[in-house]
C-alpha cells in the first residue's frame, strides 16, 4: 500500500510538471518521402606524385560510382584547385558545384621506396572533416590502397561496411558452346587483375570461398566423375573432399570455415551432408526421398537453408545445423532454389524460376517479404558482397552466347554488368580481405 501511495505521488508530481511546463508553439514536421539519388562527391586527383595520385583517385571514383550511391563530379568543373591537403578547403566553392562531399588526398614516395597515401573526407555543408587516414604500402599495392580508401569513404557516409577491397572467383568460359572450356578464375571485385586458377583440362562449377578467402570449394568433373574439391589458392593444390562413393556437389563452407555442407547423390536421391574438415567426420542432415540440395549456412552457423522438392515443387527450406527442425519457408509462385544466406543474417537471396524466367530475389529468413531484384530473365546463382548490401549473379545470354556476371543492390537498384575477360558465370564473392 505504501509503495502504491509513493507511486501515486510520483505520478502526480510528474504529471503536474508536465502540465505546468509552458507549451511552446513548435511546429512538428514528419518528412517521410525523399528522393533516392547518388551523393554528389568531388574527388580531385591526389596531389604529390601526379601519376599515382591520378591512378588512386581514379580507382576511388570508379568504386564509388559503381556502388550507385555516389556521383563523382567531373574534375573540369572544379573551382578550387587542391594543392595542400593539410589546409581547410573553401567549402563555398565546392557547394557552388553541388558537391556534398569532398575527398582530398596526397601520394608521396618515402625514402625507403614505399608509397605514403593520406586522404581526408570533408562534409561540404557541415564544413567539417569527417575522416582522415594515412596508409603506407609498396608502390605495386596502390590498387588495394585505393579500394581501402573507397571502403573508408563508403562506410563513413552510408554507415555500412564497404566491399571494395574484395575479390571474386568465377568460372571463365571459353570456346564454342558445344565444347566449352570452364576454368576457375579470380579477379578483384572491380574486374582488375584477373588470373586463371585452373588450366581447363577439367570442368569446374560452383566455386565457394571459405571465410579466410584462402580456400575454394567447388565441384569438378575430373575423370568424368563429378565431385567436390578443395582448392588452396596460395599453393594451387587441390584435393577431393571426402571418400564418397557417388556424385557430390553444391559445397558451401560454414561461417567458421571448419565444416563444409554438400549434397551427395545416391541412386537418384540427393541429400545434404556436412563434413568436419579437421576430423573428416561426415554427418547426414536430410533423409527424405526428394532432392535436397544447395545448403547455405546462416552467419551464426546455427541454421542451414536449402532447397528441396519434397513438397512437389522446388522450394526453400530451413533447418538447424544438426538437421533438426526442417521447415519450408518459401510459398510463393513458381520454383524457388539456391538459397544463400546474407552475411548480415537478415535475408536469403534465391533464384526464382517461373514461366520460363529465372530471376534473383531476396526474402526474409522466415520466407516473408519476397522481392525480385534482377531483371534479366536468365539470372541465377546469387552471391553476397561481405556487407550484405550488393549481390552478383550469372546472367545467361541464351543461344549458346555464353554468360555474364551482373551485380545489383539489394534494393533492386543499380543493376549493372561486371566486366570480365570473356564469358563468365558462377561468381562467388570473397569476404573482406584482411
Amino acid at each position: 500500500m505504501k509503495k502504491f501511495l509513493i507511486l501515486v505521488a510520483a505520478t502526480a508530481a510528474l504529471t503536474a510538471a508536465a502540465i505546468f511546463t509552458p507549451a511552446l508553439a513548435q511546429l512538428r514536421v514528419d518528412v517521410t518521402q525523399g528522393v533516392s539519388q547518388p551523393l554528389p562527391i568531388a574527388i580531385p586527383d591526389f596531389v604529390g606524385d601526379p601519376q599515382a595520385g591520378a591512378n588512386i583517385a581514379g580507382v576511388v571514383r570508379a568504386d564509388l560510382e559503381r556502388s550507385g550511391l555516389f556521383r563523382p563530379l567531373d574534375q573540369k568543373g572544379f573551382v578550387e584547385r587542391i594543392t595542400n591537403i593539410n589546409t581547410v578547403p573553401t567549402f563555398g566553392s565546392w557547394r557552388s558545384i553541388t558537391a556534398q562531399g569532398l575527398v582530398t588526398g596526397q601520394v608521396t614516395q618515402q625514402p625507403d621506396g614505399r608509397l605514403r597515401v593520406d586522404f581526408r573526407l570533408w562534409d561540404v555543408y557541415g564544413e567539417s572533416q569527417m575522416l582522415g587516414l594515412q596508409f603506407f604500402t609498396t608502390p605495386e599495392n596502390w590498387r588495394r590502397i585505393a579500394h581501402m580508401v573507397s571502403d573508408a569513404i563508403y562506410e563513413r557516409i552510408t554507415g555500412e561496411k564497404g566491399y571494395f577491397d574484395t575479390r571474386i572467383v568465377f568460372i571463365s568460359e571459353t570456346g564454342p558452346a558445344v565444347k566449352r572450356v570452364k576454368r576457375l578464375a579470380i579477379m578483384d571485385q572491380d574486374g582488375a587483375n584477373p588470373i586463371f586458377l585452373t588450366n581447363g583440362s577439367y570442368m569446374v562449377l560452383t566455386p565457394r570461398f571459405n571465410p579466410t578467402a584462402q580456400m575454394i570449394a567447388y565441384m569438378s568433373y575430373i575423370a568424368a566423375k563429378p565431385r567436390v574439391y578443395l582448392f588452396d589458392i596460395e599453393t594451387g593444390k587441390q584435393e577431393v573432399l571426402g571418400n564418397f562413393p557417388n556424385m557430390t556437389f553444391s559445397p558451401r563452407f560454414s561461417p567458421d570455415g571448419n565444416r563444409v555442407a554438400l549434397t551427395l547423390e545416391t541412386a537418384g536421391n540427393s541429400d545434404i551432408y556436412v563434413m568436419d574438415l579437421r576430423s573428416r567426420a561426415i554427418r547426414r542432415l536430410t533423409s527424405d526421398p526428394g532432392i535436397d540440395t544447395a545448403p547455405s549456412f546462416s552467419p551464426d552457423g546455427r541454421q542451414i537453408a536449402f532447397e528441396s522438392d519434397r513438397g512437389g515443387s522446388q522450394q526453400i527450406y530451413v533447418m538447424n545445423a544438426d538437421g533438426s527442425g526442417q521447415r519450408r519457408i518459401s510459398f510463393g509462385a513458381g520454383n524457388n532454389g539456391t538459397p544463400v544466406w546474407s552475411p548480415r543474417g537478415d535475408l536469403l537471396a534465391f533464384t526464382k524460376q517461373q514461366g520460363g524466367r529465372f530471376t534473383i530475389g531476396v526474402m526474409r529468413t522466415d520466407g516473408s517479404g519476397e522481392r525480385l531484384i534482377s531483371s534479366g530473365g536468365r539470372d541465377e546463382g546469387p552471391t553476397w558482397a561481405p556487407n550484405g548490401r550488393v549481390l552478383m549473379y550469372s546472367r545467361s545470354l541464351g543461344g549458346g552466347a555464353g554468360s555474364q556476371i551482373w551485380s545489383v543492390d539489394v534494393t533492386g537498384r543499380n543493376e549493372r554488368r561486371v566486366l570480365t575477360p570473356g564469358s563468365a558465370s558462377d561468381p562467388a564473392w570473397s569476404p573482406l580481405i584482411q
Binding site: 507549451a23 511546429l27 517521410t32 581547410v88 587516414l133 605495386e140 554507415g159 596460395e234
Partner: protein
C-alpha cells in the same frame, strides 16, 4: 546491427516526451499508474543524461575527429602464387609471385580546425500538444503558390525574441505550413536505406529558421544525438538529413505566419515508407 540498450531507451524516452500527456490518460486502469510512473522515471533519467551530454558535446565541438584503423599483420590475400598445373595470363599481367607487403595504416594528423557551423544548444525540450497528422497527399505546388508571400524578408533577418504560446496547436493552417516545408525539403533528402533495422534510420532535429527562410540553428534532438553517437546507421541518417536541410534552404513560407514556423521540433526524417516501395 542492433543498437545498444541506452540509445534505444533514450529514443523511446524522447518520443515519449511528446506523447506525455496522452500516455498518462490513455493507459488501462490497472497497470496504468505503475507503468506511467516507471515510464516517467525513465524519461527524467534519460533527459538528465542526454541534456548533460548535450552541453558536453558543445564543449568538444571544435575537435576534428580522426578515426584509428588497424590492419592485421597477416593478410589473407593470396592467389598471386601461380596455381597448379599451369597458370595462364589473361589480359593483364600476373602480379609478382610474392604478395606485396601488407599496407600499413596510421592515424593522420588532424587538419587545422575548420570553422564549425554554429548551432544553438537548446536548454530543454518542452512538451507540446501534438498537431494533427496529415492524411491525404496534397498538391505541393498549388499549396506553395497559396502560401508563399510576395513580400521579401529583410536581409539578415533575426529570429523573433520569443515564440508566442498557443499557436501551433493542431489546425489546418499548421498542417499546410508543415506540408509546404516538407515539399521543399524532400527533394534534397536522399536517406541511406540499407540498414537492417529501418528504425535506426529515423532521426529528429530541432530546426530554427530566420524570417528569410534560412537556417538559424539546427541540432539533433537528445534522443537522436545519443543514438547517432553509438550507431553508424543512425549517424549516416542524421548527416543525410542535415545535408538536406542546409542544401534546400532558404525555405519559402508565409511571412505572416513566421511565429508558426520559426521553430520546428521535432523535424523528423523517417525513410521507412520509402524503403517499402
Amino acid at each position: 546491427m542492433s543498437s545498444s540498450p541506452s540509445p534505444t531507451r533514450a529514443k523511446a524516452a524522447a518520443a515519449a516526451i511528446y506523447r506525455r500527456t496522452q500516455a498518462t490518460t490513455a493507459r488501462g486502469p490497472r497497470y496504468g499508474i505503475l507503468a506511467s510512473a516507471v515510464f516517467h522515471g525513465l524519461i527524467f533519467a534519460a533527459a538528465i543524461f542526454t541534456f548533460q551530454r548535450n552541453f558536453d558535446m558543445a564543449e568538444d565541438s571544435n575537435v576534428v575527429p580522426v578515426d584509428l584503423v588497424t590492419v592485421a599483420d597477416v593478410t589473407n590475400v593470396a592467389a598471386q602464387a601461380p596455381p597448379a598445373p599451369e597458370p595462364e595470363k589473361m589480359d593483364i599481367p600476373v602480379p609478382a609471385n610474392e604478395p606485396p607487403p601488407e599496407p600499413q595504416m596510421q592515424e593522420i594528423e588532424p587538419a587545422p580546425v575548420p570553422p564549425m557551423p554554429k548551432f544553438d544548444i537548446e536548454k530543454e525540450v518542452k512538451p507540446k500538444p501534438a498537431p494533427p497528422k496529415k492524411t491525404a497527399a496534397q498538391d505541393f505546388a498549388a499549396l506553395l503558390n497559396k502560401l508563399t508571400t510576395t513580400e521579401k524578408p529583410a536581409r539578415n533577418a533575426k529570429p523573433a525574441e520569443r515564440v508566442i504560446p498557443g499557436i501551433g496547436s493542431g489546425n489546418a493552417m499548421t498542417a499546410n505550413i508543415a506540408d509546404a516545408l516538407k515539399s521543399q525539403i524532400y527533394r534534397c533528402w536522399s536517406p541511406p536505406t540499407g540498414a537492417p533495422d529501418a528504425r535506426d534510420l529515423v532521426v529528429d532535429y530541432a530546426l530554427r529558421l530566420n524570417q528569410d527562410g534560412t537556417v538559424a540553428s539546427l541540432q539533433m534532438t537528445p534522443g537522436t544525438q545519443v543514438a547517432a553517437a553509438s550507431n553508424a546507421y543512425t549517424r549516416a541518417a542524421s548527416e543525410a538529413a542535415s545535408r538536406a536541410i542546409y542544401q534546400c534552404q532558404p525555405y519559402r513560407l508565409p511571412l505572416d505566419r513566421y511565429n508558426v514556423w520559426r521553430e520546428i521540433n521535432p523535424l523528423r526524417f523517417d525513410p521507412r515508407q520509402m524503403m517499402e516501395q
